[in-house]
């Protein structure tokens, strides 16, 4: 017993020291409001732009200080969920609209109706507000968005002498298929589809063909119907990778970045990517490499495509919602929205910001992307309860197997509809 006493004392002393050190952790109340703003900006330019705007706010508002906290896209959902459950969430939260449903329905986010200024409310189009509307409430301000575009090797397009599409005269899906056939040969594929996340890419692009996939019954319940319009994009991709051989099969499981080495090496004439990938292309493209931004193909519904914009929300538990809303209003003034958009190589959602000349230059394809802004719609199903489970357990493996040629269209439809509706039914009892 005597032998254990010194060790035990040492351990207890250490633990006691730790607990003592912790007990004085709170800040003294100096009467000022402090808002914690968790930002997911990560690229050098966007972090700089966000930090500058926070500094400008703090300089102009000494009584409402904003503390910049760097978050991470990689783990934001789990981290926020834990923070909400523990009552320690940041006041202002940066996220994406397709990640908000659980938090909005769970009561963790403040309904922003009545909190936001009329200017900001009117500046963002109604169709964009719908991306952050869940039930009757609005739980985030959508502020940055990106269309999926075709990044093309200019030299290969020129050599194949194909018509170059514009936003005014885009390719149809059928024409796109013909063009990729023409661009293929001699070790070159007309297109490389990076379909590591096949569901969002397929569903978002399917809006152009009039695809909806998720329909509402008379009782308001969501049901999946994989109709002819929903099949246009999957069938085109399947034909390109299969019968045509005009799309690389090796990139079907890749992320967007993984396709760039092959694109730079001239193996792929085009790569469908998010608009913000241009930054990587500017950084990594070999000297003299010519590239351009083309609109994604159009279908029966024109150039429409689904997007899940980045959002800014306010925590329901925040005791300073009005101050947080005032900060959002400052952060999303048109000029500031442009700074954030340029930093992230994305498009602002505000109509005023979209008029900024910096977004209409031909350099790096800005003008093409900005011209697509009016065609962007809420991503299908992001507000449908059960969508994440349907996507992970049913749709992702089904689309992957379909694109790889392992199953046919009938089996794809059966899985999406029959298996998928069983999943949705559990969430809609």
């Amino acid at each position: 017993m005597r032998a254990r006493t010194p060790v035990l004392c040492a351990v207890l002393a250490l633990l006691g020291t730790l607990l003592t050190a912790c007990s004085g952790g709170g800040e003294a109340d100096d009467g000022r409001v402090t808002l914690r703003f968790q930002s997911l900006a990560w690229q050098q330019e966007s972090v700089a732009a966000t930090e500058e705007l926070v500094a400008e706010w703090n300089a102009a508002h000494p009584d409402v200080r904003v503390e910049y906290v760097q978050g991470s896209w990689d783990s934001v959902h789990d981290q926020l969920l834990t923070s909400f459950e523990g009552g320690e969430a940041p006041d202002v939260i940066h996220d994406a609209s397709d990640d908000l449903a659980d938090f909005a329905y769970g009561g963790y986010l403040a309904d922003l109706r009545g909190l936001l200024s009329e200017r900001l409310t009117a500046d963002i189009p109604e169709r964009t507000w719908r991306t952050a509307t869940f039930g009757d409430g609005v739980y985030g301000v959508p502020f940055l968005q990106e269309p999926r575009v075709l990044i093309a090797n200019t030299a290969l397009l020129r050599a194949a002498d194909v018509r170059v599409p514009t936003v005014a005269e885009p390719w149809t899906w059928e024409e796109f298929r013909r063009v990729t056939r023409r661009l293929s040969g001699d070790g070159v594929h007309g297109v490389a589809w990076p379909l590591k996340e096949p569901v969002s890419a397929t569903l978002n692009l399917s809006l152009s063909a009039g695809g909806r996939l998720f329909h509402r019954d008379a009782d308001g319940r969501a049901r999946i119907r994989f109709g002819p319009a929903d099949q246009v994009v999957p069938e085109t991709i399947r034909a390109q990778t299969g019968t045509d051989g005009s799309a690389s099969r090796t990139t079907l499981g890749s992320g967007g970045s993984d396709t760039l080495p092959g694109f730079f090496a001239g193996r792929y004439a085009m790569v469908p990517l998010g608009f913000s990938y241009r930054q990587q292309i500017v950084q990594q493209a070999p000297e003299g490499f010519e590239w351009q931004v083309l609109p994604a193909p159009a279908g029966a519904a024109g150039l429409s495509q689904g997007v899940s914009p980045q959002t800014l929300s306010i925590a329901e538990d925040s005791p300073h919602k009005e101050e947080a809303a005032a900060f959002l209003d400052f952060l999303l003034r048109p000029a500031n929205m442009v700074r954030l958009a340029l930093g992230d190589w994305m498009l602002p959602t505000g109509t005023e910001a979209l008029r900024d000349p910096a977004l209409h230059t031909d350099e790096d394809g800005w003008a093409t992307g900005t011209a697509l802004a009016g065609h962007l719609r809420p991503a299908p199903a992001q507000s449908v309860r059960g969508y994440p489970e349907w996507k992970d357990k049913i749709a992702t493996p089904a689309f992957q197997e379909y694109y790889s040629g392992a199953i046919g269209l009938g089996e794809l439809r059966r899985r999406l509809e029959d298996d998928g509706n069983l999943v949705l039914a559990r969430y809609q009892r």
Partner: protein, 279 residues
Amino acid sequence: MNLRPGRAARGGQYAALLAYLLFLAFPFLWLLSTAFKPPRELASLHPTWIPKDPTLANFRQAFDEQPLLHAALNSLAVAAGAAVIAVLVATPAAYVTARLRTRLSRAATGWVVVGQAFPFVLVIIPLFLVLKNLRLVDSVPGLVMVYVVWALPFALWMLAGYVRAVPAELEEAAAVDGAGRLRTLVSVTAPLLAPGVVATGLFAFISAWNEFFFALVLLKTPQKQTLPVVLTHFVGAEGVADLGPLAAAALLATLPSLVVFAIVQRRITSGLLAGAVKS
């Protein structure tokens, strides 16, 4: 005549060992190569092991963009604190459970080791609430306590094995020679346990140094964030990463573990061999 198959077998063994070493070293060597490549080489269709145009720009950018040094110091404090406390708590507990083979000690050991089976996601919310009540959220000591608790089951199990490897007859012989319990522990048992204590401390240090999720959830103040959390700031939406700076920062993050292991590994192996001979 007998030497030929022996040489062939030995050659095969060395070849297999070399292949295994390369397999183990591959991620580190790839990280090393990536950290010194400029963006254009990173996007090359035919990557090379040796950078054609090596650059330190990735390291400069990593340090410019993120407070890596500060985060490394935080990680060092947290990992060292967790390792020291885990060893201090686990050593006497392991001694008792190894030497007193009662039903209670066996049950206690089993219960503690079962604690290792719970995944992070299962405990994080209750843990967060407990720490919040103790006002230990967003505090480095709070994180150290979590790491200690997390490391203890394995540390206890590991150290108990080392204690069992020390023959009880040595302690009995010391007692016959007139040494008291304390003297026996200090002069006979402790030196033989040293390699085990070092190995256990190393395990606790490395697991705390590399841990990400608890640090992400529990630390909110940017100045308190540890290195694994800061590393994720180089990763954007949909897994897009700033690969060069990320590799440079990750390379720097792996160095302390390698250095610590390089320093203590000789002691661990020699201690293990000594124990083996004695038993």
